[in-house]
Amino acid sequence: MMTDDVYREMESVVGEENISREPAILDSYAFQPFHRAEPGSWIHRPAAVVLPGSTGEVQQIVKICHRNKVSYKAHSTGWGAHSGPGKEGVIQIDLRRMDRILEIDEENMYVVVEPYAICAQVQAELMKRGLNLHIIGAGSSTSPLAACTSHMGMGFTGVSMGYSGRSVLGVEWVLPDGELLRLGSLGSGSGWFCGDGPGPSLRGIMRGWAGYDGGLGVFTGVAIKTFHWPGPREPEVEGLLFDTKTEVPDNFKVFLCYFPDYERWADAYYRIGEAEIAYIMSKNPIGAMIWAFTPHLMRKITDMPAIKTALKAAQHGCHVMIAANSPGDLDYQVKTLKRIIEETEGVLIDVKPPFESMLWWSGVRVSAVQAIFRPGGTFFVGLGGDEAVDNTMLQAKFGEKIKQDFIDRGLIYDDLADVMWGGLYEQGLFNHQEEIMIFNARDPRQAKAPEEFAKACARTAVEEHLGGIGFALFGGEKMHDLFSPVTSDYYKWEKKIKETWDPDDLSNQTFR
């Protein structure tokens, strides 16, 4: 446990200004309303918080914890209950002092970052070199290191850049006992360019579809794939979000596409993937969007069934951004998209300024999705994962029914029961879908909704074989009990991994 001696030992590593056990300081780490099924916003208060400034300091802190059997939990930006202590007596390791971009290799297209360099910073520096990176849907205030090593990894540019978990090259990893493990070529002294081998890839222990969220050591550096950026090196953008004004470059096009039903929508996704077009592709739930952009309006129309039906007609659709490297490329992509929309009896809207400006830059910078917090203060995802397009469409259909029931009971905001935030990955390898529901955690009745919602979603996922466990992971151990027996007993194996590397659960996994 955390004793005065342990505290002093850690203090000697980081200096007194970088460690605290003052209740006020600690409670600022205990407020985590997001990404948890249980009602309430206070999680376990950490026993202390420590701010290491280097990999060496992280190692020393972890070794002190290991020696003294003190649990610890590292986070980067610390957004969400999964990044905080899952039990009492945990030391919170806040990595915000490790915020550097260590290297940008322009030719070999990767960037090496520490935990607290956020996506917006990294993107801004990459763009100066004609590069970009995949940013998760939670936005560019997140840590790309966390997305790659520890959390999930879906985002708007999945179609052209893939999923964060598959963008990982070399990794520097402080194991639960404080020893350093460097994955792939990095561990062999050959540089950061590859994260796999020699032989079996230890990335398999590091993470799967999701990561351990700080439950298996501390990641202090990662090389992440970067991708060609055909836009301006230093985009001139005015405005903060809804007022965005910028010149959308000629080689970009922004479209909204709508389809008559799930089936033709799925057809279009398959075809877009096969055609190898599109830079950004994202289904943005129409109800949630209106809530986010104009909550006043949405409040007014929730009891107007006709208007709601009209709006919901746009639920089978997505936002497609095309980025071209040449005029020929642009012509080809636009022409192909038009043909696909025609074949699938869809509607294609060529977005014009000023909305074009906003969609373009907020799509690239991933700066608008956070407005989803606007109506209720938070949201929850109970069903979702990544699989073949047809499967994710089925997820969405079931999700719609589940959500409508919660809306009818007044447990969540009426977002037209339009589901599915998501989009294609790796030019159609799989589709991502997630069942977003907006609620107000400050309303005692709604605060209880996520728990029930998570259960309803999980039951359906199991009974209907909806592909992957995905977001059920946030439901906690009970969810593992439900899913593991019908999903290759994965939890039995994960427990073995945890027991092997961290038998005393010192590296605290919040949702085990």
């Binding site: 030719e107 561990g187 062999s188 050959s190 032989g199 230890l202 398959y270 096969e274 899913f483 019908v486």
Partner: protein
């Protein structure tokens, strides 16, 4: 396996698969045990041919019960690098007869295949559906698709190589414990049939959940378990395609072009060969290969541009135009014909498996390969290291093949040196083996990343990453605590200490 228990083990194996699926034929065992001078000859005690996952599961459980060393292999032809040669005694688990294409799904561009499915077999089935198999450079006709993917052999189309696992997606594996596990989307919920009914197609290669066991099995040379089937990515068979060559005397002349084109994800097949490798692919025998080598520029970049379902010709046209602009910027020239090969010839070669003698062995009858991963900007330096080793070993420089395969969209490349030798000449064999060992050490010292450490490379490669060795041993302890899977390979040997 102690000799007395061999008989017991064999009897038990017969009990599982039947008498006709276990062989103790001496000739066959000798073939499977041949180490080729780089690894000691193994001592296979029998070869067992399982029919399905259930057989395999029972075999693995038996191995744990009686202490067998199981050496899985998917192809009937021995590999050259000793991955499937038993270290000491071992039971060869030959999966080549499990060769069903369980499912081929055009809509999702995916196939579910057993380990014995060959490139030729899958290619034919895929083509019938308008799909294409992602292949390494001209693989052997009987080569197992699954073995190739499990061993992370590079494919020739870097734009389809997103992650190192590609084109492998989900696997069913029988771990060394005898437990069956399915990875990624295949894990569940639901049986395969139930998943198909819900529109799933085993396309998500990650997980399930927080761990990625496919990544731990891949690259494992059969030390973690036996893969019984896998879903693999297929791509569209182009409606139209053109192939171009760009030749240069100096690799540096090509480097900027390669980086630029791959960054823009232009081109489909995209690879670089030196004159000797190119000649070995184009010609059948030593004399003609020698003559062809002399006719070629030192380096040839081969790439295709393709069009698919939508406006294929227009796609080719704009890509060709864009690439041509890049070539101009770098002072290069795209050609559709080089000495001894037209675009059509080359395309045909790239699209097919190797017929007859493998192209690497055409010059001298045998070939030793050294391959590793690096980045393109460091290739020239490694070639220099290799050339010095050739001089020291008195090996003719002009007879070394070099193959550079960009992977992961061009972020890295597989660099391969091919050293032809006459396997019937003991002196030459020894000489090339010594060259391989010495050069490998020197390349490693210079920073080469031997990500697939077969045979003698295991000791060298793992000596450089003791932290990885310790972690891998822990993984092995979880999935194969009884140590029944392909003993003595990779770092799972006394030789490699943490």
């Amino acid at each position: 396996m102690a000799s007395e228990s061999n008989a017991v083990g064999i009897q038990e194996l017969i009990g599982i698969v039947g008498k006709d699926r276990v062989s103790t034929d001496r000739e066959l065992l000798l073939k499977y045990g041949r180490g080729g001078g780089l690894v000691p000859d193994g001592e296979p005690v029998c070869v067992v041919y399982p029919r399905d996952s259930e057989d395999i599961q029972r075999i693995v459980k038996l191995a744990n019960a009686v202490g067998l060393n199981l050496v899985p292999r998917s192809s009937s032809i021995p590999g050259a690098l000793g991955g499937a040669v038993p270290s000491g005694e071992g039971v060869i688990v030959d999966l080549s007869e499990m060769r069903e294409i369980i499912r081929l799904d055009r809509r999702n561009k995916v196939a579910l295949i057993e380990p014995g499915v060959t490139f030729g077999q899958l290619q034919a089935a895929a083509a019938a559906e308008g799909l294409k198999v992602l292949m390494p450079l001209i693989p052997g006709a009987s080569g197992s698709v699954l073995a190739s993917y499990l061993e992370r052999e590079p494919i020739t189309i870097p734009k389809y190589h997103w992650d190192m696992t590609d084109p492998l997606l989900c696997i069913e594996v029988i771990f060394g414990t005898g437990d069956m596990f399915r990875t990624g989307g295949a894990a569940g919920p639901g049986t395969l049939e139930e998943q198909w009914a819900s529109g799933a197609a085993q396309k998500n290669p990650m997980g399930p959940a927080h761990t990625d066991f496919a990544k731990l099995v891949q690259g494992g040379q059969g030390t973690m378990g036996i893969v019984t089937w896998a879903s693999v990515k297929l791509e569209l068979l182009p409606r139209a395609r053109r192939l171009f060559f760009i030749q240069a005397e100096d690799l540096g002349e090509l480097q900027g072009f390669i980086y630029k084109a791959l960054r823009l994800r232009l081109g489909d097949e995209f690879l670089v060969l030196n004159n000797f490798s190119l000649a070995s692919i184009l010609r059948e025998n030593r004399e003609r290969i020698g003559a062809m080598t002399r006719k070629q520029s030192t380096w040839t970049l081969v790439f295709c541009v393709a069009g698919y379902e939508y406006f294929p010709q227009e796609r080719i046209a704009f890509q060709e135009n864009d690439i041509r602009e890049i070539t101009r910027a770098f002072g290069l020239e795209m050609k559709e014909e080089i000495p001894g090969a037209s675009a059509e010839t080359m395309m045909r070669l790239l699209d097919n498996t190797a017929g007859g003698t493998h192209w690497k062995s055409r010059y001298s009858g045998g070939c030793r390969d050294i391959f590793f991963l690096t980045t393109l900007d460091r290739v020239a330096a490694f070639i220099e290291v290799m050339n010095k080793s050739l001089v020291t070993a008195d090996y003719p420089m002009e007879e070394m093949g070099i193959y550079i395969q960009p992977i992961q969209h061009g972020r890295a490349c597989h660099l391969e040196f091919n050293l032809p030798y006459d396997p019937d000449d003991i002196n030459e064999t020894e000489k090339v083996n010594n060259l391989l060992l010495r050069a490998s050490e020197e390349l490693l010292e210079a920073g080469a990343f031997f990500s697939r450490p077969y045979g003698p490379w295991a000791r060298m490669a793992y000596a450089r990453c003791p932290d990885s060795v310790e972690a891998l041993k822990k993984v092995k302890g979880i999935v194969d605590p009884g140590g029944v899977m392909n003993r003595g390979k990779l770092c799972f040997t006394e030789e490699v200490r943490t």
